[in-house]
Amino acid sequence: MKDGDSEQKGMSRRSLLKGAAAVGAMAGLGGLALNLAAPGTAEAITKKLPQKWDETWDVVVIGSGFAGLAAAAEAAGGGAKTVILEKMPIYGGNSIINGGGYAAWDEELHLRQKKNLGNDSVKQHIDDTLKGGDFFNMPALVEVMAKEAPDALNWMINEGGAQLSDVLVIGGGHTAYRAHFSAHNSGKDYTDALKKIAEKRGVKMALNSQVTWIWRKDADPKSPVLGVEVKRGAKVLNIKAKKALILASGGFSQDVEMRLAEWPKLVKEFNCTNQKGATGEMIRFSKAVGADTLHMNFIQLFPFAEPEAGILDRPAVYGFSGPGVGVIYVSKTGKRFVNELDRRDVCAFAQIALGPNMKPAYTIFTDAIPPKFGGKPAEIEAGMKKGRFIKGETIAELAKKIGAPADVLEKTIKDHNRYIAEGKDPEFNKPMKKTMIPMDKGPYYALPMWPAVHHTMGGLRINTNSQVVDVFGAVIPHLYAAGEVAGGVHGSNRLGCNATTECVVFGRIAGKNGAKEKA
């Protein structure tokens, strides 16, 4: 990494105390409890602004997932000397283990039109997203996400070399075929593409670099953030961000303490699909310098996670991608328990409501179904060996293997086949689709699943420029946030595949705007 200068100009040795006291006082007025004065806390009040900086960059980006990479690429594209700081020893965050789903109502390949899969529009994407989030979403942010979705995807394809799989999926809560999947059904296809663009534009990335504080002199609305404190091994350094500090540090699903503080139901026993570094310290530090948050208690469970370790592996995507083409979910009773095309929160809590001894539940399908959403026979073959898929030549055989009564499962499948034919689901009112395939020919498969903590919809409050807003509604100068660390796009419940989109779209916005700031 490039050596930074040791600029000392204008850095008075003023303590944060003054600023923190000001935040405390103002927060008092605003009715919020930003109790920075508590002695002995991590947000130690005695922290002094650094006297000198170990490194200086125009734009400093925290986090190396979709949002951070997109932000850094665009910042560098705008001429800013840009660094990404990533605390983990590998790059990519949750993004690199993501399932490769990207929601867009169109793109330059026009897959939907070519496949004759009906209509879609910006408006429809916006409406679905708002409805899926129970209208808690900030409409202006949703609009930006939906509008920019195709362009951001085209950018990754054209400049980053990302490749798409030749399928289009309708996921729970979406009313159109807009879920695109990358060639390998992996977020890595996109992170690699974004990294390629970023590197081409001169972005540097430093791994093993954990941000441990955000420097801001005080909470005056004109007071910009100055930089960050970083822990690298046992070494602590201060890094200055001349133009912008962009937070792209992801969600906090692995932060049990923060989870419990927001939603006590999400005890540590819940599995989690996220990488270990998905913790909320950057949100804490941001609050400590005055940032506002929203929707922090809206935390999503992924209904179809692998039940043992809680991971979201390739088979776990079947549960998500399958309902539009006819998979069903059943419990050990052999009965369905939910409208499979319903939202994630509904599907997850329908399982939890079955009771703890009903773990796992199952996604049921036949050979004819997976090819319709990009599932491959080889995957199923491999997954069977690992015990991820269970196979029965007949329904009865499958029922026996999963401990369900054969006659009940047979009836469930027969009934569902009829609902497809009749276009009506009297049991759960699922909007039946012509694309759904009846299960009338073996072998039959069961895929065990159970909910795991997956996504945090809430986070830092941003405006449509991706700028972080303080508790009084004023922009915090030079501070940006994008991706899962920001809240407000998804409301109470994120629709599948909207996260990738949100991250790339807002990452780009943050990067472009950050580069334009005055140093």
């Binding site: 020893p89 590998i90 046992a234 990488q275």
Partner: protein
């Protein structure tokens, strides 16, 4: 970058071999006495080749007056060996660095009898050296494994003392341990070929993400895939994973 902690040149650079006769078992160590060579070995002749001229003196300056330590590794004639570290740093040797080295905290660090110091070294640096050398000589981890094969600090790190938090670039590992593709072939599980730690869905990751050197190694995969049956050598509690691949050629 400002504020470098240590700029001492690494002391364990290849000053080559002193002598084959090192089998001469040392006599008792007594820490209360000032540590010297002759305190354990009695006479220098007991550890020197037969033809070596007689050596007078008690400590290492007896050697370094003729055999200069050569941290640049440019020596042509008779350089002094850092390999000496290995046997002398074993726990039962109970030797401190300063038996052979000179050091003023924050200032020069050198070898007794050598004209030029190796560099400067602050107190934290000395603590680190003591710790790491002890680990390198006798831990259950990858450092001691390298130690046994006489791969010293600079075999992995540069000639400068590594700073805390520095890592080793994979190229350095692969220079001895070979082509990553070949390594991957060796660790491909027969039952589930896609559960190959050297060829995973994360793509190419740094060797040191899993293979720690001065602490237990751990397969990063297990952070998420808690139920995988995956072993790594030199993990918690020692070598393990007998047939793990990757031994240097």
């Amino acid at each position: 970058m400002a504020g470098l902690f240590f700029n001492v040149l690494i002391i364990c650079v290849f000053l080559v071999s002193l002598s084959p006769a090192a089998s001469a078992a040392p006599q008792k160590t007594n820490l209360s006495k000032p540590q010297s060579c002759t305190g354990c070995h009695g006479e220098f002749s007991s550890v020197l080749p037969a033809k070596h001229p007689r050596v007078a003196g008690k400590d290492i300056s007896a050697c370094t007056s003729c055999h200069a330590p050569d941290p640049q590794n440019k020596a042509t004639a008779k350089p002094y060996s850092s390999k000496l570290h290995l046997s002398h740093m074993q726990p039962d040797a109970k030797l401190d660095c300063l038996a052979c080295h000179t050091w003023k905290p924050g200032k020069a660090f050198g070898v007794k009898g050598a004209k030029k110091p190796l560099g400067t070294l602050p107190a934290e640096g000395m603590d680190q050296i003591r710790q790491i050398f002890a680990s390198w000589a006798s831990s259950k981890y990858l450092d001691a494994h390298h130690g046994k094969k006489n791969v010293t600090c600079s075999g992995c790190h540069d000639r400068k003392l590594p700073e805390s938090g520095d890592t080793v670039a994979s190229d350095r590992c692969l220079a001895c341990h070979g082509d990553i593709e070949k390594l991957a072939k060796k660790t491909e599980p027969k039952d589930f070929p896609d559960r190959n730690p050297h060829k995973s869905h994360l793509g190419t990751i740094d060797c040191v993400v899993c293979h720690k050197t001065h602490q237990p190694s751990k397969a990063y995969c297990l952070d998420c895939h808690k139920n995988f049956n995956m072993k790594i050598r030199f993990g918690e509690g020692g070598p393990g994973a007998k047939n793990a691949s990757g031994a240097a050629k």
